[in-house]
């Protein structure tokens, strides 16, 4: 299944971007597969306050909508979401997530879909690095479409969703970022809630059992952006 997905993704990418870009993408994927499957796992403490104000209103040009079923999502938004990657893989995955109780939060920039993030409450749809507890929310698979990047929209979206989660008595929002993704690691440290880094881990699931490897803590502490984040204190 994983191989057929990879082949399908690569062929779609090739059709859209051509041979050279596909080779570069495949090479990047190989490099990440072998050396960078490690994820930085952390949570935001929704009971505390981080670098910016959690009560900060969205700018006038931004709106966020929560959708919990396929029917609630406008067809053009749905099309934009599933066609950004490989629709053959994305459509069933997104539909399954909604059926299993996940919600998708859509961010609009002047009315146009600019990005989204998925959220689940007190459980994850796939085995996580550890079981979630009561009061735990999980944010995952966030995306800002390329034309809207560089405007801190991701942070606005995360802050908004976390504040909504807090209003639902959630205490923590869990998240993970690939270790190589320094941009995302830096950006998530600036959220409105204090970020607590748990560790660097990788995982695999076989026959219903999830195997997790937690790497030594010093690997995490050697990252300047993450050390900075550790200094954020709980109010």
């Amino acid at each position: 299944m994983a191989i057929s997905h990879a082949v399908s993704r690569l062929s779609t990418y090739y059709r859209r971007h051509g041979f050279r870009a596909s080779v570069e993408r495949a090479w990047l994927w190989v490099r990440r597969s072998f050396s960078s499957s490690k994820m930085v796992v952390f949570y935001w403490d929704l009971t505390g306050h981080g670098e910016s104000s959690a009560n900060e209103d969205l700018p006038d040009y931004l709106t966020v909508e929560r959708k919990s079923s396929r029917e609630e999502i406008d067809p053009s938004d749905w099309s934009q979401i599933i066609n950004f990657w490989n629709p053959e893989l994305t459509e069933p995955l997104c539909s399954l997530r909604l059926k299993q109780g996940a919600t998708i939060w859509l961010l609009r920039f002047e009315g146009k879909l600019a990005g989204y993030v998925w959220a689940a409450i007190e459980r994850t749809l796939e085995p996580y690095y550890y079981p979630l507890a009561a009061g735990d929310g999980y944010l995952y698979d966030s995306l800002i479409f390329p034309e809207y990047r560089g405007r801190r929209l991701h942070l606005h979206l995360l802050n908004y969703v976390m504040t909504e989660m807090k209003a639902q008595n959630m205490r923590r929002a869990h998240f993970e970022v690939a270790e190589w993704n320094q941009a995302s690691l830096s950006s998530t440290a600036k959220a409105a809630y204090p970020r607590h880094l748990l560790g660097v881990a990788r995982k695999a699931t076989f026959f219903g059992r999830t195997f997790v490897e937690w790497l030594p803590a010093q690997q995490l502490e050697s990252e300047p952006a993450q050390v900075e984040a550790r200094k954020v204190t709980v109010a």
């Binding site: 550890y130 507890a133 880094l197 219903g208 059992r209 997790v212 937690w214």
Partner: protein, 223 residues
């Protein structure tokens, strides 16, 4: 093993060795529990029954000679002293529970960190409860849940946010005892640490009845 043989004889030692081997290969899974201590719903027993008292110790010196003998001779005295000293040095607390003045059992807590790597890195103002024992002559009197409940009260009063505890999956007695507390099941896992890396296997939970959510008994409900 040698200490056990001297005390219990050949037959008991052999049985114990077989049991250890069985548990080594098939029973290393732990059931993990947690409890949010600052929840509005958290309301443990506020007072122990009159015949019980609990004392918290932060060093070996604080334990009376007779009680230390009782604790250390229950297992291997040399190993026990080394183990207890290490834990105290790491900052752990020992909670002794007495029934009508006699030492009935004990349990350990560590706050803000764990003695050995946990199943996942813990963060925040938490407490880890571990290694609880009720001496055989005091078993069946609900002492362990009351000790756990008392400790949870104290930790909550200290402002600790969450407590963690784990029990071996085969230990039905401890699981039943824990079912009488408000702890909630987190998962079933086993772990190993090699070269500073912690490997954890999470499996589907197989818990007995009442383990999802249970109550700490009120003092007057205790026999």
């Amino acid at each position: 093993m040698f200490g056990y043989f001297r005390r219990h004889g050949f037959r008991a030692t052999l049985e114990r060795a077989v049991l250890s081997a069985r548990r080594l290969f098939s029973g290393t899974r732990m059931v993990l529990f947690y409890l949010d201590l600052q929840d509005e719903g958290f309301c443990a027993a506020t007072k122990l029954p009159d015949h019980l008292e609990v004392e918290r110790k932060a060093s070996l010196d604080g334990i009376g000679a007779q009680e230390w003998r009782q604790i250390s001779e229950f297992w291997n005295p040399d190993l026990c002293r080394r183990n207890f000293s290490e834990r105290f040095q790491e900052g752990a607390s020992l909670w002794l529970i007495r029934a009508e003045g006699k030492l009935a059992g004990y349990g350990w807590t560590m706050t803000g960190r764990t003695i050995v790597p946990y199943y996942y890195p813990l963060e925040g103002n938490y407490a880890h409860l571990f290694d609880f024992l009720v001496f055989p002559e005091f078993r069946g009197r609900n002492i362990n849940p009351l000790l756990v409940g008392h400790i949870l009260n104290e930790l909550a009063a200290e402002g600790r946010s969450r407590a963690y505890i784990e029990v071996r999956e085969w230990n039905r007695r401890q699981l039943n005892s824990l079912a009488k507390t408000r702890f909630r099941r987190l998962g079933v896992a086993r772990k190993a640490t090699l070269f500073g890396r912690t490997f954890v296997e999470w499996s589907a939970a197989r818990a007995g009845p009442g383990l999802e959510n249970a109550q700490i008994p009120a003092p007057d409900a205790v026999a």
